[in-house]
């Protein structure tokens, strides 16, 4: 944490960070209804037993490869391609870890700050593990609390892309996710997901409606907007395949590797290429969009 001291330190009021603050995390209070991030086991469990279970088993019939690439303990940053209006991929990845991993763990999902300010989303997303994509949040989760965090480096560019551009990865942000993992000395686990693009394809964007509602985007999908709000969740039954790739370690790169922007970009680019290659490979083996 020495580096944080220099970049974020307050010149007038020097912060002493020579003790490991991880020892001072709050203790567990079993009677609590949500955890300190606002995550609610009750609501999550309720969703998990109903909608998620149905989608995972019978609708998307998710198949998982190499789940043991997700470490059984300690922080890890999961990085995946991202697609679809109201993307179902995050939920399916979380469910896959829950169902298939020998040591199931909760997964935190980074979401845009936008959702914190939008009524409804602001209340619901944290309850099911959504955390605003702030570097400090990711660092606390990865380093201090040793949790699994899922990021979509493509961000909105991934979910906004139209059906004709499916499975073509967008730019991977500015490599911020690599920096976050380096600071926390946590491994990066790339993930390739096939199916989400067909489950919720976007044919066009309705800009007028977007301006009216103030949402990030309003897509034209097979069921939205003519199907009403529920139409947003009207997924087509595409076959899902999730492949967890070999983790990339970040703890052997020397001192403060994130200061080397070239290295950060190189690793980000490598991860993007590996996900893209695996997507192509999985698509080549796929015989049918619906039956896999």
């Amino acid at each position: 944490m020495a580096e944080q001291r220099t970049s974020l330190a307050d010149p007038g009021l020097p912060a002493t960070r020579d003790v490991d603050l991880r020892d001072y995390l709050p203790g567990l209070e079993p009677e609590r209804q949500v955890n300190d991030w606002g995550r609610s086991e009750r609501i999550e469990g309720l969703l998990d037993r109903t909608a998620t279970e149905f989608l995972y088993r019978y609708w998307f019939r998710v198949e998982v490869e190499d789940i043991d690439h997700v470490p059984a303990q300690g922080g890890a940053l999961l990085v995946s391609n991202h697609a679809g209006a109201m993307p179902p991929d995050a939920t399916m990845i979380a469910k896959a870890i829950k169902e298939e991993h020998p040591r199931p763990r909760p997964l935190y999902l980074t979401v845009e700050h936008f959702f914190k300010g939008y009524p409804g989303f602001s209340m619901l997303l944290p309850k099911v593990g959504g955390v605003a994509a702030h570097p400090a949040n990711v660092h606390r989760l990865l380093y201090d609390e040793g949790e699994l965090v899922l990021v979509f480096p493509e961000g909105r560019k991934g979910t906004e892309k139209l059906y004709k551009d499916r499975y073509r990865l967008r730019r991977f942000g500015r490599g911020g996710f690599v920096e976050a993992a380096m600071r926390a000395r946590a491994p990066i686990v790339p993930i390739a997901v096939v199916g989400a693009e067909e489950a919720a394809p976007i044919f066009a964007h309705l800009t007028a409606l977007q301006k009216l509602t103030g949402l990030l985007y309003v897509p034209l999908t097979p069921t939205f907007p003519h199907g009403g709000l529920l139409g947003m969740l009207g997924y087509l039954p595409a076959k899902f395949r999730i492949r967890f790739l070999e983790p990339v370690r970040t703890d052997q790169l020397g001192d403060a590797p994130w200061e080397d922007k070239g290295l950060v970009q190189t690793i980000a680019h490598e991860i993007r290429t590996r996900i893209q290659e695996n997507l192509v490979d999985m698509l080549a083996q796929r015989r049918s969009v619906w039956f896999g």
Binding site: L13, P26, R32, V34, G38, P126, N137, R140
Partner: protein, 417 residues
């Protein structure tokens, strides 16, 4: 660990804002410590709690006057508890006068190389961080806000802290502590949030369930005292462990959660409520929308142990809310009368239990760590005055019968001798 050693220990303490809830309670707590030689409290209005040895000086915040008091009494530590962090306490104009101009004056009174002051402790607020949509989930002390303050109170807190930071920069030899408290909860506290939570339903904004942290009033006093006793240079967040969400607060209080405020035009709705008699400050609106939590670990690493978590604080509040309607009007009837206080402190006719304010005869530190058998062995060697003090201490603390009997026996021996 920033534990104060004997040489830097605060002995002569000036408490500003003695008549605020915090000033009064802090002075009461410091009075218990026999190693503190002098406690002097200043404020514009007389104190509201009974104080035994604290000296009250009624003074405005003119810095020349405060400076004279500081120099004359050789104050080594100033604890500034004056900051107004809730806009329902007073008008924005007076709050600004108190928060910014007042802080400037207090700092002016202890600046300069020849000042005896070695330590300044300032009670601030998490309002320093503001509340924005793209904030981190936990503010750490080194967070620098990117946007200007949105409400008058927030602006005051930021300006006051800037003054304190400047002071710290120019006086590297002084220990300057800034304590940023989250929402305080306590029996006697009247804040925007205590009013909101006292309603029959817990109001919220439709579609939002903000994260909330609370700190119990005993912990606020405890933290102030901890910072006075130990050297904690820099800024520290103070908040109970655990972050609740508003709906959880409602269920802990046993009240329905009513997210009925509109998500758009919340400010207008709150203004209407204010017209209708509910006194809540404008700084509450954003907290009801986005919530706020701070990282309290730095203070824990500096040795402070919180007595209550956020959840326990709310459970305490629930107890108060149940009992208070029954106890109405039975609160402390203390009224400050200058002549009476002077008489009690100065008159030679007053019989004081421990001469010289107990500085010599109070049980020395370390007695508490002795077990009963060792203590009884020591008792015959003590003077009668010390025995009296020890007896009082034992009675109010552990009240071991064997120890009390041994003291009594020795007291009788001294009387007969």
């Amino acid at each position: 660990m920033a534990a104060g050693d004997a040489s830097s220990h605060s002995k002569r303490i000036l408490v500003t804002g003695l008549s605020t809830h915090w000033g009064g309670r802090l002075a009461q707590a410091l009075e218990q410590d026999p190693s503190v030689e002098a406690i002097i409290g200043i404020d514009r209005t007389p104190p509201k709690v009974e104080l035994v040895r604290t000296e009250f000086v009624q003074v405005s915040d003119a810095h020349s006057l405060i400076r004279r008091i500081v120099d004359a009494a050789e104050i080594d530590t100033i604890v500034d508890t004056r900051l107004v962090v809730d806009s329902i306490v007073t008008t924005p104009r007076r709050a600004h006068e108190n928060n910014v101009i007042g802080t400037m004056n207090i700092l002016a009174a202890c600046s300069g190389r020849d000042s005896p002051v070695r330590k300044v402790v300032v009670k601030s607020s998490a309002h320093y961080y503001g509340i924005e949509q793209d904030d981190p989930a936990f503010f750490t002390e080194d967070f620098r806000r990117k946007r200007p303050a949105r409400t008058p109170i927030e602006r005051d807190v930021v300006e006051a802290e800037e003054l304190v930071r400047d002071f710290a920069l120019h006086h590297p030899d002084r220990t300057v502590t800034v304590l940023r408290f989250c929402n305080g909860i306590g029996r006697a506290l009247r804040t925007s949030h205590s009013r909101l939570l006292a309603l029959p339903v817990v109001l919220g904004i439709l579609g939002f369930d903000p994260r909330y942290q609370f700190i119990h009033e005993d912990d606020i006093v405890g933290v102030l005292e901890h910072a006075t006793r130990h050297d904690l240079p820099g800024a520290y967040n103070a908040a109970g462990d655990g972050v609740l969400v508003l709906s959880e607060v409602a269920s802990l209080l046993g009240k329905p959660f009513a997210p009925v405020l509109p998500p758009w035009g919340t400010g207008v709705a709150l203004t209407a409520l204010r017209r209708a008699g509910l006194r809540v400050g404008p700084e509450v609106a954003r907290q009801l929308r986005f919530g706020r939590a701070v990282d309290n670990r730095r203070l824990k690493a500096a040795g402070y142990r919180y007595r209550y978590t956020s959840r326990e604080t709310i459970l305490k509040l629930r107890e108060h809310q149940r009992v208070d309607p029954l106890l109405r009007g039975t609160g402390s009837a203390y009224r400050y009368e200058r002549e009476v206080e002077e008489f009690l402190r100065r008159s030679p006719n007053v019989r004081r239990p421990a001469p010289a304010a107990g500085a010599i005869t109070a049980p020395p530190e370390g007695f508490d760590s002795l077990d009963a058998r060792d203590l009884i062995k020591l008792i015959p060697s003590l003077e009668p005055a010390a025995l009296e003090a020890l007896r009082e201490h034992e009675e109010t603390h552990r009240a071991r019968r064997t120890v009390l009997a041994a003291i009594d026996a020795n007291l009788v021996r001294h009387q007969t001798a």
